[in-house]
Point group: C2
Chain length 291, copies 2
Amino acid sequence: MSAPLPSTFAGIQNDIARALEQLLAPGGAATPDPVLDAMRYTLLAPSKRVRAVLVHLAADVCGDSARALPAASAVECIHAASLMLDDLPSMDDAPLRRGRPSAHVAHGEAVAILAAFGLLNLAYGHLARAYPAPLAARITALYTDAVGLDGLIAGQAEDVLATDAVIDFNTLERIHRRKTGVLFGAAAQAGALSAGANENAIASLTSYAKNLGLAFQIVDDLLDVVGTEAETGKAVRADARKMTFVSFSGVDGARELANDLCATAERALDPFGRRADPLRELARFVAGRRV
Amino acid sequence: MSAPLPSTFAGIQNDIARALEQLLAPGGAATPDPVLDAMRYTLLAPSKRVRAVLVHLAADVCGDSARALPAASAVECIHAASLMLDDLPSMDDAPLRRGRPSAHVAHGEAVAILAAFGLLNLAYGHLARAYPAPLAARITALYTDAVGLDGLIAGQAEDVLATDAVIDFNTLERIHRRKTGVLFGAAAQAGALSAGANENAIASLTSYAKNLGLAFQIVDDLLDVVGTEAETGKAVRADARKMTFVSFSGVDGARELANDLCATAERALDPFGRRADPLRELARFVAGRRV
């Protein structure tokens, strides 16, 4: 796995890991459930859970993280589902993920597709059950937008269809905004909503998170070029058939772009003063991520 | 396509078709959207939309169908998503659906998988936006249960894994209860909830719908054996590698079983008196469905 988050975030990460484990606890039934196994395999694999940490930190900076956990769990379910789809033979055909065989390699393609479906479904079911109805409806609307036709699904479709194609910088930026930035933004908004934040706070946090998400993706592109399989937990040089931020800007240019985006993200935190220091630390981690 | 629903239901079907068309209206953007195209291809294809009709009729028999439409649209999104997955090469590898090439044949496998994901996602987004929050949360909880690990996803997984295997009658019954009965039951409950029905009415309608759903599936098995491709809109004799109700009970036995289930379904309607006649007509249609 690539560099872990700073230890400041370990407590939050542990809370999230426990919540996810409970969400997918094996039932009492003696019958094996291959789909549940595949859901657990991907959702519970070691991971930074940066999107869930973002939900928590956004809630915390707005003054109340007590209701952040269901939104944090749901965003991890959505993200894990998207990873399972990205890796499928008909998409990126990736053999490794999080340091282990991809879900379809380990569990078969049919089961992996159904498990991805199951994780998306679980995200919305969990929101509907865990929150008071008005909050559930607002976060569900947010997350379904982030997944939909101007979010994850659109970004993944354009990414797959752009393999082996020449694309311009704006197209690349749009793909990664949709694949990463939009869900980062939704995670921050959900955290803020769970804390009852006002519109100004939500707007600042959304701006922070979208820039952070794009920076995160650019650093992923860098790791694909300069990292090793053992360090990143997935096959490297996998993007050779795709245009990336590194193919446009070179290694140094991509690093600079990521740093600029993280600086922009940090500036969006000004209204929060020192209370936003954990979010600043997260941005500096993303900017400084090295293998 | 197999036999259409009786003309009594044409008005409801038209309302649903219009609502689905609006839900997937092409945006103003000039850029083509292959995932939206694939979603439209499957969701808007000619279909009986029996699950949506069931939502409407359940609401109507409880005295108020004014709020049935979003739940009816959402259940059709979920059902269409499940059809796209069922047909994939890694699952049933079915070339035809609703009289046309299956979605992955027409749109490519990656886009078809993303479109199925998009339809499931849209179902929950639509519920969250179209309903008052408490009703949205209740129907979302219902539908996510019906899709999840004791519903559609579990049924499809067991069905795929049972291909070429010998299974017993109880396993077959469980597969089809999960693949069809559970979503029929959720559709009826959602309709009743949208009408503010009491627990007794909900229980009666759920019993009706689960039996109806299982009968519907058995008749599908029959059509696979005795129908033609032109009549059913999909490849027939596709189930040769699977055990079906017909392989257990023969053609006449399967017909008898479907008739018995429809009669049981009708008996559950007794508390509603004559008001339930449209639901009785639907049960008789299912029992009498012939190619």
